[in-house]
């Protein structure tokens, strides 16, 4: 097949469709469970499974530190991991715009394969549709995943307790900042790369040191600040943050300063927010710091009984203020 662009014929179900699937998807995703039938046939161990799905429409589809393919694997792998589930199998559905460059599609598939391998997950079913020019923007991907929940894991947004430490697995806001700059609307240049990464190994490393982990949440759209308000609400607790302890890269701080944005509300695609008893926090942070993609993990605050449903900031001058609630559209189509 020598087509340089995706055409409507590639989505018609005939010869060109199989050529596209063979050349782009089978080529990269090859594994024993990848099906050519109507559905993949999988074996599961006994126990609880986690099951989730996520759609990806990021614009632009390529950015510093990744592309929509890598993002689509990380998003679903991380959602499973946050439940203490080892990601096992993924499916992926593509909606491709007519005229999309074939080499870019290959790059996206290659990034998906590489990320899946890194996360230890198999892509075993998929679907391809082609939509007319202008009916989608480039390529949209939906991934669905199944994971096996570890017997010793029990995490939920409802389980945060007064006395828990609040931990982030790295410096925040890089993905949102990267996308913002990639859109070229602001005339700002800065050396920022997305934090987009699969985090199963990091979650596993935490459970290797303790089972006593109450909440793990993947801070994506809305950033860490949104996650904190969600947990404060779900668990009926207050959260106090120490502004000076929140890790933010200097470049991200600079861009936020210029545009008047709060890094806590910028999207991440490879950052976990963890709630665990204070006496376990040090072990968790040191386990995370030994892993790739969480070298800058830090305790950023604690859970309190008072101020239920609110997030309070200890400011850099030793005063306190409320973290403003997220609201309105900061930036559409970031993931």
């Amino acid at each position: 097949m020598t087509d340089k662009f995706v055409t409507l014929a590639h989505g018609a179900g005939g010869k060109q469709t199989s050529e596209l699937i063979d050349r782009v998807f089978k080529e990269h995703f090859a594994n024993p469970d990848l099906t050519a039938d109507d559905a993949a046939v999988l074996s599961m161990e006994k126990g609880k499974i986690a099951f989730t799905t996520d759609g990806f429409i990021v614009s632009p589809y390529e950015f510093a530190g990744g592309n929509i393919g890598k993002l689509s694997i990380c998003g679903t792998v991380n959602d499973l991991s946050c439940m203490g589930a080892k990601p096992l199998y993924l499916s992926c559905a593509f909606v491709i715009e007519e005229g999309f460059p074939m080499d870019k599609l290959e790059e996206i598939a290659a990034a998906m394969a590489k990320t899946a391998k890194e996360a230890g997950v198999e892509i075993c079913a998929g679907d391809t549709k082609v939509a007319g020019k202008g009916q989608v923007d480039g390529v949209f991907i939906t991934t669905t995943g199944i994971g096996r929940i570890m017997d010793n894991a029990n995490t939920s947004g409802k389980l945060a307790k007064a006395g828990d430490a609040v931990i982030v697995s790295g410096d925040i806001g890089r993905h949102g900042c990267t996308i913002l700059l990639a859109r070229d609307e602001f005339g700002i240049e800065a050396d920022v790369t997305s934090d987009c990464a699969p985090l199963w190994a990091n979650v596993k490393a935490m459970f290797d040191v303790t089972n006593d982990i109450h909440v793990i949440r993947d801070a994506t759209r809305g950033g860490v600040g949104t996650v904190l308000y969600e947990i404060a609400g779900q668990s009926g607790v207050g959260i106090t943050l120490d502004a000076e302890k929140i890790p933010v890269a200097d470049e991200v701080k600079g861009v936020c300063g210029m545009l008047g944005l709060e890094p806590l509300y910028l999207a991440c695609e490879g950052r976990l927010v963890i709630f665990a008893p204070k006496d376990k926090a040090e072990d968790i942070v040191s386990a995370l710091r030994k892993c790739k993609n969480s070298e800058n993990a830090a305790v950023i605050g604690e859970v309190t009984e008072d101020n239920a449903g609110r997030v309070v900031m200890k400011t850099e001058i030793g005063s306190q203020t409320l973290l403003p609630q997220p609201g309105g559209e900061l930036l559409p189509r970031i993931c």
């Binding site: 609307e185 602001f186 005339g187 008047g260 609110r310 309070v312 900031m313 400011t315 850099e316 001058i317 030793g318 005063s319 306190q320 203020t321 409320l322 403003p324 609630q325 609201g327 309105g328």
Partner: protein, 350 residues
Amino acid sequence: MNTIENAKEIISSYKREDGKKLRIMEVCGTHTHEIFRLGIRKLLPESVELISGPGCPVCVTPIGFIDEACMLALEKGAEICTFGDLIRVPGTEMSLAGARSKGAVIKTVYSPLDAVSYAESHRDEQVVFLAVGFETTTPSACLAVEKAKKLGLENFSILGANKTMPNAYKALEGSADAFLYPGHVNAITGTAVCEELVKKGVSGVVTGFTAAELLTALAVTIELSQRGEPFFRNCYPRVVKPEGNPAAIKLMEKVMTPCDSEWRGLGIIPMSGMILRDEYADFDARKKFALPKITGKPNPACRCGDVLQGKCKPSDCKVFGKVCTPLHPIGACMVSNEGACSAYYQYGNL
């Protein structure tokens, strides 16, 4: 002791015997926002009151201006380029967001020059840039007009609501005992204006934007106020020079000339605005589209005007936080991140 601790000590130990309060007005919206973000209000003793003044360009832009912009977009067929903050400010009938849902083309830009580039690449459309702002942003609007003139763009114009601070301070006399002057404005205008104001009995300090700069300015204001005479101090000397930015001033004077200007809540303040000079009249949207005189009608329940003059706190307004919220603003002060109502709402009463 470092600067921050030193300043905190001066601020927190300030006491008055007469039972009155030292009323300090932060004029700039960025100051308002930073003061809330840092939790500075919680550090103030009872004897100090901070008042959020009219220094957010979106907040002081009158309703009639939004009505004019909507008319340009819906009836005159112009495409509007604007800073994002203005889009949700309510007009008499609707906001620009409302106009957009009726089919108007409203585009967000981050600089007036972006609007010129847009006009350059859309020669078949009439493009109007909504020029609001103080001495900080007016030079870039002037630059945009100059560029459009040089390019010979016949499809670019501005709807102006540019404002200048000096006469606003005079109009606000009595609202506060001292002003925290907006450092970014003084970086352009210099400090002569403030020296003049001292002679008229108006006190203030030029203030920067970091925690140390804000706390220092407050501490200096408290100390100088105890001397019992009008004062001025430049507490932002790393950025604000006495002569300001002569190139920017020259550009503004070349392209624009002072005029009377309407401020939301404060009414018309003589010679507190800037309008395009006759040589640039082709770029004045009001003239180009022969706009009629429009007087906007604010929602009667909204007390933004009183808030901007320090006559009441946002929480004293009946609609604050109930029907007027950042997602559904009734007054301009709730729209902009730098508006006093938005800051009170978002940072809450801890």
